[in-house]
């Protein structure tokens, strides 16, 4: 019976096997292109021991929505791998995905409901779920009594967990009454509207069909970091002879893999696209068939180009030499199929939506819409037709709400509870949270519920947001880890990871569906969003019968089952959700090309170079040039996604910190020299919104007038917060489909000095 712990389980040097099991190594290997060395097949085929396996799906706000196979022994999640059944996930995860077991078992997880005595003091008390829910319920009842409605309670939720059942948080709010909702989306609304004006919907080709493309332009996106699984298809296309061009203000890792990298002046994507269009027009390289048969307004667009655009003008505006514009225009128009992947970065501007329209126009006029391997790729929501059963809840009898015409809008589903009701929720632009909390009255927002979001990490103008939070009477945050939002909360409720609940996931990029099974018990006292809603409902009804209609079901499997319907079964060729236990399934599509039948969703049923609907929403009918936001400081500030985190998630995981220990500002050598800044020196970046102090990295991956700081909260000992430098200026589009415009978060400017 006796075993010597030190001999059998103590410290031993890393073996080769354990090196390969290292999450970071796995993430790097999974994104290797073909070359002399290739990543070995994962050790996925023969694990020793009796593992139970489960199906999971990564619910992060990531293009890839990976299908995961999880290995559990003794009730412990031992390791994860990408599902082999999905040709998109292809058996591998990214570095973040492979780190999941460390995230689940991190000693830093929030373990119990806790209450802060004095917001921001750091004085936390452990409380029971009953105490937490009683305090929250009493506050809700107090607000109802004081205001005569529950509009003083607001929800701030977005993309922290895209599991379909997590829309139960919205359901929880409805089940309490008419409340205040932050609507819209910070991420991609300008591009969504642009594609809706042009084509009548946002609908991209299957990303796996990019292998068929002969010419690929990746424009304002960095999939080598942010969609690693897509890169294997890009590499395959390259191997088959496709040319890959990356257009970006930053020399990204994706750019490094391209055949041609074009540095563009930020926010001048429209001028470059229009310059390309003009050259294609002059050279008569456009598709007569597409422009005459399948489009509306091409002649007006051509007339606009002839009158207003020259290649030289485009070169001057965009910073891309005229000969390069001509070259890529001709190459793109001559290759078939040719495709442009429009990244979300390029539409986060005051002219972002119209710039996407100009890019769409280049793809359309060359006849690359509706064909396999072609397309103006941005995203899609064609596989999201679930029941949203958890989300659709009735307000309690006699609830009083807002008498305006507001309707909840979200890019992921139709208006919530659109049945004719006398009252509605009060909707506020999600991108103006700070301003809205400070200025909204009658009634003011008193109680804020935060779920699936870290507003202090993601929302704009951190200093204004702090003032806004100070105005709130109570802040409840549901999260897995401590962050600046929790720091500014009164009560924090611990929530489960994906491995501790059932749900189902689909992607806004690929066409697979993945089941998410409960693989391990809830950690410590963590609960899923749905369990919290059910428990709150129970408590509310104990305190005041009939005050909450949310079903008191705490089994997340029951909720997951209710999301499936015949449409989903048919689309994915399954009899029931149980089929997904055998692995993820792909939508059965007649073609990998979107718009393959050339039946567009626009009012004319055609591709609309000229859109009356765009004009109705205050934009130009044609994708005309719109000048960028005027600079308000010396350097442009770009704050793109980092490789080792997804917004503020994963940043705090210890192994990520090994690779990504601190934030940097990246500055061009000439600009650094002019300021006397050396590599590694501490600098202060300041603008009208705030300031951050951090080390400089001197590099020519950025242009001379640009500073790059990777976004999100870095946790640990640093108080770095990129939102110190980002104001809440709106992008041009977004109102049509998502209820509010996006944020021009790459139209920011600042100065830099040695600290």
């Amino acid at each position: 019976m006796k075993k010597d712990l030190l001999k059998t389980g103590g410290i031993c040097p890393l073996s080769r096997r354990s090196f390969l099991k290292s999450a970071a190594a796995a993430g790097i290997l999974s994104s290797l292109p073909a070359g002399i060395l290739q990543a070995a097949e994962w050790e996925r085929t023969h694990y020793e021991g009796d593992y139970e396996t489960f199906r999971n799906a990564c619910p992060r706000n990531c293009y890839d929505t990976c299908s995961i196979k999880s290995y559990v022994k003794d009730g412990v999640l031992r390791f994860v791998e990408g599902a082999k059944e999905s040709t998109f996930t292809g058996g591998a995860l990214c570095v973040k995905g492979f780190s999941y077991p460390r995230r689940v078992y991190s000693p830093d997880r929030i373990k119990y409901p806790m209450k802060q005595i004095g917001r921001g003091t750091g004085n936390w008390k452990r409380i029971s779920w009953d105490e937490a829910l009683t305090e929250i319920s009493n506050k809700i009842l107090e607000i109802k009594k004081k205001d005569g409605s529950l509009l003083g309670m607001a929800l701030d939720k977005y993309s922290g967990n895209f599991g379909i059942t997590h829309y139960g948080v919205e359901g929880m709010m409805s089940s309490l009454g008419y409340t205040t909702r932050f609507v819209g989306t910070p991420c991609w609304p300008a591009g969504i509207d642009a594609q809706n004006f042009d084509m009548g919907n946002m609908w991209c080709n299957d990303p796996e069909d990019i292998v068929k493309a002969k010419y690929i332009i990746i424009w304002g996106g960095n999939p080598a970091w942010n969609s690693v699984h897509s890169m294997k298809f890009v590499y395959e296309a390259q191997e088959r002879g496709a040319k890959v061009v990356v257009i970006d203000p930053i020399m990204t890792q994706t750019a490094a893999k391209a055949d041609l990298y074009i540095r563009i002046k930020t926010s001048e994507d429209g001028s470059l696209a229009l310059g390309m269009a003009r050259h294609i027009l002059d050279k008569k390289l456009y598709s007569k068939e597409f422009t005459t048969k399948h489009s509306k307004g091409f002649d007006e667009f051509a007339a606009y180009l002839k009158k207003n655009v020259t290649v030289e003008w485009a070169a001057e505006k965009s910073g891309v030499p005229a000969n390069v514009i001509r070259q890529i225009a001709e190459e793109f128009a001559s290759a078939s199929p040719a495709t442009i992947w429009a990244g979300y970065g390029l539409q986060r501007h005051t002219n972002g939506g119209v710039n996407v329209r100009a890019i769409d126009a280049v793809v359309a006029m060359t006849g690359n819409i509706g064909i396999e391997g072609g397309g103006a790729r941005y995203g899609h929501l064609h596989t999201w037709g679930f029941n949203y059963n958890a989300m659709v809840q009735k307000q309690p009898e006699g609830s009083v709400g807002y008498l305006g015409k507001d309707k909840i809008k979200s890019e992921f589903h139709g208006p919530e509870g659109e049945a004719q009701a006398a009252y509605s929720d009060r909707t506020i632009n999600i991108n103006k949270i700070a301003e809205s909390i400070l200025t909204t009255n009658e009634p003011p927002i008193r109680l804020l519920w935060v779920a699936c979001k870290n507003p202090f990490g993601q929302d704009f103008d951190r200093n204004k947001l702090k003032k806004a939070f100070d105005k709130l009477e109570m802040v409840v945050t549901v999260d897995q880890f401590f962050n600046e939002t929790v720091q500014n909360s009164d009560i924090v409720l611990p929530c489960t990871t994906l491995f501790e609940e059932y749900t189902v996931n689909v992607s806004y990029w690929h066409y697979w569906i993945g089941l998410n099974e409960k693989a391990i018990p809830e950690q410590y006292e963590a609960k899923s969003d749905l369990q919290i809603a059910a428990m709150l409902s129970k408590k509310m009804n104990e305190l005041e019968a009939g005050s909450c209609t949310f079903p008191q079901i705490t089994d997340t499997k029951v909720w997951m089952e209710k999301e499936f319907n015949d449409g989903i079964h048919k689309l994915f060729g399954i009899e029931s959700w149980e089929d997904l236990k055998n692995g993820p399934r792909k939508a059965q599509l007649p073609s990998s090309a979107s718009w393959n039948e050339m039946k567009f969703g626009t009012p004319s049923g055609k591709y609309e170079f000229s859109s009356d609907l765009a004009a109705e929403y205050g934009h130009t009918k044609l994708p005309e040039y719109k000048a960028p936001r005027k600079a308000y400081d010396k350097f442009r500030v770009l704050t793109p996604h980092t490789q080792f985190a997804l917004h503020s998630q994963f940043n705090n995981i210890d192994i990520m910190r090994d690779f990504n220990p601190e934030p940097f500002v990246y500055i061009n050598p000439a600009a650094a020299a002019a300021k006397g800044i050396k590599d590694g020196e501490t600098v202060k970046v300041v603008n009208k919104t705030g300031s951050v102090t951090l080390k400089a990295r001197v590099t020519d991956i950025v242009a001379e007038d640009v500073l790059v700081l990777y976004e999100a909260w870095f946790g640990g000992k640093t108080d770095f917060n990129i939102q110190e430098l980002v104001d809440d200026e709106s992008s041009d589009m977004g109102t049509f489909k998502t209820g509010a415009p996006g944020v021009a978060l790459h139209d920011q400017f600042a100065g830099i000095e040695k600290a």
Binding site: M1, K2, T8, P107, P521
Partner: protein
């Protein structure tokens, strides 16, 4: 004080994390009447306890053995597994298996109490107690108390308990070694 009762008191101090339970356990650990600890600000002790061991911010000294012993700082990895094996050998398992790691301090202290009781009736359990204390807890508790101690006010009750816990594990292992030498 009976040694099992003392371990139980340590267990309770670290398990519940509320000021009432901490105060009550502290009285047992220090063998004082609750009334004699009146000068302690238990609310401040509770805040300190959470800052050090619980959260919600990253605890400064997590009370999990893996944090100190696992070469890859992996909680619920090999160290936890070894502790679980000891429990299994003794016929023990967590009632909420998989929800918390087996190498959490109050869980290990609870196992100590049970193994000590079992050892009173069956000396085979002495070996398991030795494995848990001498070969495992002794390896990490001093590291834990040192890290926590460096972040705590020296005059705090939490600090006093940490010192007593450190002293307890050292004495316990010394007496185990001495009893072996006698044999």
């Amino acid at each position: 004080m009976d040694s099992i009762k003392r371990i139980e008191a340590f267990r309770d101090f670290f398990h519940y994390g509320t000021k009432e339970k901490m105060q009550e356990a502290y009285a047992r650990i220090t063998d004082t009447e609750c009334g004699l600890t009146k000068n302690i600000d238990w609310e401040a002790e509770e805040f300190l306890f959470n800052r050090l061991f619980v959260g919600p911010a990253s605890p400064e000294a997590p009370m999990t053995a893996s944090v100190y012993l696992d070469p890859e700082r992996h909680t619920n990895g090999r160290i936890t597994e070894k502790v679980r094996e000891i429990y299994t050998a003794a016929g023990l398992s967590l009632s909420n298996r998989g929800s918390i790691p087996e190498d959490l301090l109050p869980v290990e202290l609870d196992a100590c109490c049970i193994l000590k009781r079992l050892a009173e009736v069956d000396e085979n359990f002495i070996e398991l107690y030795e494995q848990l204390t001498a070969m495992h807890m002794y390896m990490w508790i001093p590291l834990f108390t040192e890290r926590a101690g460096s972040c705590a006010d020296e005059s705090s009750a939490v600090m006093r308990v940490l010192c007593m816990l450190d002293e307890w594990i050292k004495n316990e292992v010394t007496s185990l070694v001495m009893s072996k030498e006698k044999i």
